[in-house]
């Protein structure tokens, strides 16, 4: 974590992009894509959908359940959108930092595949794996290298293609786990990207990155959102790679993404405590915080977090709060960039204003935060 000194080297977000595959899918059509139309599943789906508040989402999956695009393709589309927004090309990039929960392949790393598809010149690549907060980890890496003066420009992308994991074929003949339904009817596909540069863009405002903070509390929490694990604790011989064959692991439910929903309140409380610490350390000035973009999985957390922030931030109202969960779905590591892109594109930010990005990750309790300030182009008077 670092606090920006205006005299020191700084990084700016100068272009933003996103890509959501296919047409939006309404709640009623979700089951048509993912399958699972028996009465019990329908009931679970309706309940989860009511709670999470998502109205529509996107899947790189057709009605037959076939994957229509690779995760790396979603990532490349979002990066290209961000490059276009900035008016540069992939050959201008010195680094590519990619965040995803699960790439298309087991090996090699996701960023290598994205770079191969994106093109451009030689560049540094980084794959930040994890869940939602890997987006902030990738952003942090790119921003740090740009601030060090090692690359004039970098691209960061968060990209997810979880629908493959959510389709009925991952559920049929598999040991039934209620905790796999929470994410099944919540997660969807998409990608969001940002261009990071050592100078603000010359023609339009940019977002100066003031600081980034990522913290894990895994030392005091068991896993919460997970796949590939049998039970709450990792034990040698009991992960998905240790079974006699992968099919057996799948039958046992190890290829489902499961969520320990009982500890989600604890996650929200831990996230708010992290926020309080930012205030306490002077990283967030409540009087000057103009926008909050918080990634959350369901509207239940929105209300909880919003109420807590309203109690702390003078004049906090919904105009300073932005999320597009309801219209773009929960796209994990892509979500925060997809939200930032929309807020940016639709003119919510004015020069001088500050923005807090907050990304809690339930995986094993980690939190990513970034503080941005909208800055005008640097103009020469000559």
């Amino acid at each position: 974590m670092w606090l920006n000194n205006p005299m020191s080297a700084t990084a700016y977000l100068t272009g933003l992009g996103r890509y959501l595959p296919g047409e939006p899918v309404s709640n009623d059509d979700v089951a048509r894509r993912l399958g699972g139309v028996d009465r019990r599943t329908d009931g679970l789906r309706a309940r989860v959908q009511r709670a999470n508040g998502i109205r529509q989402r996107y899947y790189a999956l057709d009605d037959e359940g076939r994957t229509t695009e690779l995760n790396e393709e979603l990532a490349v589309h979002a990066i290209e959108d961000a490059l276009t927004d900035r008016g540069i090309t992939a050959s201008d990039l010195g680094m590519l930092a990619c965040a995803t929960t699960q790439g298309d392949l087991l090996v090699p790393g996701f960023a290598s595949m994205v770079h191969g598809r994106l093109g451009g010149g030689p560049m540094q690549v980084l794959t930040a794996s994890g869940v939602c907060a890997s987006s902030i980890a990738a952003l942090d890496a790119a921003v740090s290298k740009v601030r060090l003066g090692e690359h004039p420009r970098a691209a960061v992308v968060g990209s997810e293609l979880s629908s493959r994991w959510l389709h009925q074929r991952r559920f049929e003949g598999v040991e039934d786990h209620l905790d796999a339904h929470f994410l099944r009817w919540m997660l969807s596909d998409g990608a969001g990207a940002a261009i990071v540069e050592f100078q603000p863009r010359p023609d339009r405002p940019s977002l100066r990155v003031d600081w980034i903070r990522q913290v894990s509390l895994a030392h005091e929490h068991e896993v919460c959102m997970r796949a590939g694990l049998d039970g709450p604790t990792a034990v040698a011989g009991r992960t998905w790679q240790d079974y006699d064959d992968v099919a057996t692991a799948e039958k046992a439910g190890l290829l489902q993404i499961r969520q320990e929903t009982a500890v989600l309140d604890e996650l929200a409380a831990a996230g708010l405590a992290q926020f309080e610490e930012l205030v306490d350390r002077g990283l967030v000035d409540l009087k000057k915080l103009d926008h909050v973009l918080c990634h959350y999985s369901t509207n239940a957390f929105r209300d909880l977090v919003f109420d807590a922030l309203s109690a702390r931030i003078p004049g906090m109202d919904t105009s300073r709060w932005f999320s597009n969960l309801e219209t773009c779905g929960n796209t994990g590591a892509a979500s925060i960039f997809i939200a930032l892109e929309e807020a940016w594109r639709t003119g919510r930010f004015a020069p001088g204003e500050t923005i807090l990005l907050a990304v809690p990750e339930s995986g094993r309790f980690s939190f990513g935060f970034a503080h941005l300030t909208v800055v005008e182009p640097r103009r020469s008077t000559t």
Partner: protein
């Protein structure tokens, strides 16, 4: 017969018999005053520069910097056995300067410039004049005057480059990694200046050598200012 002193009219300059270091100090003062009038340095001092200005400055300097170790090496090869110590000094100095442009090239790329474009660049008219003059001086037998050029160029590195580097960093928010060339010269050239001072105050510098050194320093000071002023004028 009347003496010329009693007649009004042109009086040619007389030899200056002040100490060499004092004469060079005057040259330096005048050089600094000229630098203050250079447009890009005025803009830098005023905080009114962009990354493009920094790139432009590096691009223009690079085309002449690559010649630095060449003319020093040529000067070294023209010192005879009676000037063995000066030859030694020049050979070591040429070696130190030999990889100098690589620092500059790294900085240029680190601020988003294209290495290909930088290497394909040509000297501006000031760089042409400066480089041409230095090769000419270095080609003479026992080119003691070249010490004057070193006095200016090393002084620039030791006293000015670091200030420029810090100012570019302040104004543009540049990382240390983007100002290696200018920042390095502050330390390296301070060391070189120390070595140079020892030579300049040694017994081997007679009046003729001192005159050659001062003249060379004055010419180089002017041509350097021209190089900085005539940016992109190729």
């Amino acid at each position: 017969m009347t003496t010329t002193e009693t007649v009004e009219g042109y009086r040619p300059p007389q030899p200056d018999r002040a100490g060499l270091l004092a004469r060079l100090a005057d040259v330096w003062t005048e050089f600094e005053a000229r630098l203050e009038e250079v447009p890009i340095l005025r803009a830098l001092a005023a905080g009114d520069v962009t990354v493009a200005d920094y790139q432009r400055l590096l691009h223009n300097l690079r085309q002449q910097v690559v010649d630095g170790s060449l003319w020093i090496a040529r000067a070294a090869s023209n010192f005879d056995m009676d000037h063995f110590d000066l030859r030694s000094a020049a050979i070591s100095h040429a070696l130190e300067e030999h990889r100098d442009h690589l620092l500059l090239e790294r900085d240029y790329v680190a601020v988003g410039g294209s290495l290909e474009a930088l290497r394909a660049g040509r000297k501006n008219v000031g760089s042409q004049a400066l480089s041409g003059y230095m090769f000419h001086e270095a080609s003479r037998p026992n080119p003691v005057g070249c010490l004057g050029a070193m006095f200016i160029i090393e002084g620039l590195g030791a006293q000015k480059a670091g200030v420029w580097a810090r100012r570019f960093q302040e104004v543009l928010g540049l990382a240390d990694n983007q100002v290696h060339f200018m920042a390095y010269h502050q330390d390296a050239d301070a060391e070189h200046t120390g070595t140079l001072d020892a030579i300049l105050t040694s017994d081997r510098i007679d009046d003729a050598a001192a005159d050659a050194i001062v003249t060379c320093a004055r010419v180089v000071a002017r041509l350097y200012v021209m190089q900085l002023t005539e940016l992109d004028e190729i």
